[in-house]
Amino acid sequence: MLEAVNLTKAYRRHAVKVPVLNGLDLEVRTGEFLSVVGASGSGKSTLLHLLGTLDAPDSGSVKLDGRRIDDLPARERDALRNRTFGYIFQFYHLLPELNVVDNVLMPAYIGHSTFNWWKSRAQWRKRAHELLNRVGLSHRLTHRPRELSGGEMQRTAIARALLMNPRVLLADEPTGNLDAVSGGDIVKLLRDINRDEGVTIVMVTHNLEIVHATDRVVRMVGGVVTDDTPGAPKQLPFQPLMLAAV
């Protein structure tokens, strides 16, 4: 479904070229819950940005359903990010001026003109309420982000990511800023979403405990995939390998 082919990416820091991805190949299958693990600087987040068209590779390509998407015009890439991909970040990245409902509705606001929004706003509000109910925040609808706990903020971010019925959820360290209990709840939520709605999830994480909940674990070292282990929760030999990776 989502495919990275021979991706390379380097950043410049004070005129020094720092390679991050070095010919990475990865295929994400439809409906799977994939976790990407690796040491800091291994290129996990960069991979996620390239898969979601937030950034462009130096070379190589990103394909969705066999169609190259990294070189699409900006307008089409914007539309992909709005409708096809849903982002979840480690630091939640909610807009502080908006309350929980408006934060969740933001992708719909972005995807509609003012006129179209007024025509369909009731339907979108209903969906936002459903999603917030599902993530357990129906009592926090009018709260601002600063009034929420970390777990609640992340659940708001998940509801936001799901609003437009995306095909792929891209989660960058979704539990990285949460305690173990809250982190566990988030992973369970993602697992349920994956299972119930068939949303493909690509999750970058450090937390080795949560990878057990995923269908497949990919390990990255030095900007390439070094291990690709399907069915991680049932493959015990993967455990020491993961520890070594961290």
Partner: protein, 531 residues
């Protein structure tokens, strides 16, 4: 949709936005107030400048006034040839006499085989010629006047006071019809037929003055003794017979500029005082020059009324006397130096009337001018002053624009991460730019709207505010004695208000473009990582 939502939210939640709004608001309010006051001054000044001037003036620089001569020739009839025979050896030339009509002095001649009629038009004749011509359809009223310089003399506490004045001889009813006369009179304000007649109180005052003089000097008091020693610096006495050819005018009324009859001064406590030095019934002597030979001539008049235009230049220089009196004093009976015209529609007809009058008076000694031509330099100065002031003041809004620029750069820096979030959710760069341009538009609109409201409120209450500030500080913010205005004049021009408001909004948008462009160019990944 998100652009509107975020603009409104940023407006409500960012205190920096408040600073932008206040700076735009103050700039706009200042511009509106200053413009209204400048326009008020300008309008009032123009009204005043127009005040005693009629719409159009036809005048001549000849001291003896207009000499409009119309000559008509026709062949002699056989009977006239018989009556005026040719004397052998000479050309046939006879004077057939002179006839006076209200419109002209008509001289008849025989010149060769022609009968010649020379009509020297009187002011009435000139008026009839103008009004019966093509220009007449545009003219509502016309009146002849004599406009000349003079010296006003009167006695104040026993001493002679002399002031240079502008002496105007008018027919009061006709002058009223062309405007700018009776509306400025103090006693006969807005009278349809004002006159130079004395009121009983003025006559009483005159008689009291006379009694006072006789009491001090005796009924047959000799003239004041001459100086025992001749003053070597004194000018030689005029070499002329003062009483010859000049009919001594009867005592009659004169209307004096308010500033001539009243003296304003500050006392030891810096309090502005006004004292009446010439009351109705007091006599003044006006000395001017004869129309033909510029010899000094004078007449004694009694103050009957005051002219108060609130233009210090006019109030301290104009003296009106009856036209026929001035004609007699100056030896120019049946003549006038200018004609004052009131047009039916000044703006529409001024060019046409000017053109038609030029056909009637083709010679260069006759000047045809509108009141704007007469006050041209002053009116231009007012307009130039206002334009320059506007440019300078618009810089205030420019300063507000720079504060918007600085604050927007700060806001964009604060919002780096939000920009990254929105881009990750599918917002386009153009959409992000629109958020911040829209934000600028919103700040400009709110600031300009509040500024307009504040400016109009201040303009409406400017005199109360001035009084309050003057009372608090103990210093007059608007000294009345400088302008002769009772209050600060204001005139709100809707077009100017719209221009100022729209200009301020445009500046706010303009100065938000750069930060908005920077926000739009922000890379989403770098924005999301921004700490």
């Amino acid at each position: 949709m998100y652009k509107l939502l975020l603009c409104l939210r940023y407006l409500r939640t960012r205190y920096l936005a408040f600073i932008c709004i206040v700076s735009v608001m103050l700039g706009v309010a200042t511009l509106i107030v200053v413009n209204a006051v400048m326009s008020g001054f300008s309008t009032k000044l123009k009204d005043r400048l127009h005040g005693v001037l009629s719409d159009m003036v036809v005048d001549t620089d000849r001291t003896n006034g207009f000499e409009v001569v119309r000559e008509a020739r026709r062949p002699l009839t056989p009977e006239e040839q018989k009556q005026n025979p040719v004397i052998p050896g000479s050309r046939r030339a006879y004077s057939l006499g002179t006839r006076f009509t209200p419109d002209a002095r008509e001289d008849y001649y025989v010149d060769g085989d022609e009968h010649v009629t020379v009509r020297t038009l009187t002011p009435e004749g000139i008026v009839r010629e103008i009004t019966s011509g093509p220009a007449g359809q545009y003219i509502e009223a016309i009146t002849p006047t004599i406009d000349t310089f003079a010296v006003l003399q009167y006695r104040d506490r026993g001493a002679v006071v002399a002031k240079p004045v502008r002496l105007v001889g008018v027919e009061p009813t006709g002058r009223t019809k062309v405007g700018g006369f009776s509306e400025y009179l103090v006693r006969q304000k807005d009278a349809a037929t004002p006159s130079f007649d004395l009121t009983p109180e003025a006559v009483q005052r005159y008689e009291w003055n006379l009694m006072q003089f006789r009491h001090e000097h005796g009924a047959d008091a000799p003239p004041p003794p001459k100086l025992p020693v001749p003053d070597p610096l004194a000018p030689p006495p005029p070499n002329m017979q003062l009483d010859v050819g000049i009919e001594r005018p009867k005592l009659t009324g004169a209307i004096l500029g308010y500033g001539l009859a009243h003296v304003r001064y500050k006392d030891a406590n810096d309090q502005l005082l006004e004292e009446q030095v010439l009351r109705p019934g007091d006599n003044v002597v006006l000395t001017t020059a004869g129309g033909d030979d510029l010899k000094p001539v004078w007449g004694t008049f009694l103050v009957t009324d005051y002219l108060r235009t609130e233009m210090s230049e006019y109030d301290s220089s104009f003296v009106y006397v009856p036209l026929d009196q001035l004609q007699r004093i100056r030896g120019m009976v049946g003549r006038a130096t200018s004609f004052q015209l009131k047009l039916k529609d000044y703006q529409r007809d001024k060019e046409a009337v000017s053109k038609e009058l030029r056909k009637v008076f083709p010679t260069r000694e006759v000047m045809i001018r509108t009141w704007e031509d007469l006050q041209g330099p002053l009116l231009s100065a007012i307009d130039v002053e206002r334009s320059i002031l506007n440019i300078l003041l618009f810089m205030i809004v420019g300063v507000a624009g720079f504060s918007i620029l600085a604050i927007f750069i700060m806001i964009v820096s604060e919002k780096y991460r939000d920009i990254g979030i929105m881009k990750s959710l599918g917002a386009s760069s153009w959409g992000v730019m629109q958020i911040f341009v829209g934000y600028g538009l919103l700040l400009g609109t709110v600031g300009a709207g509040l500024g307009t409201a504040l400016g109009l409120w201040i303009t409406h209450n400017i005199n109360a505010i001035e009084t309050f500030i003057s009372r608090q500080t103990g210093t007059a913010v608007f000294p009345r004695d400088i302008y002769y205005f009772k209050e600060i004049p204001t005139n709100v021009d809707p077009l100017t208000v719209v221009l100022v408001t729209v200009g301020a909004i445009l500046i706010a948008v303009l100065f938000s473009l750069l930060p908005a462009w920077r926000a739009a160019r922000l890379h989403p990944v770098r924005a999301l990582r921004f700490e």
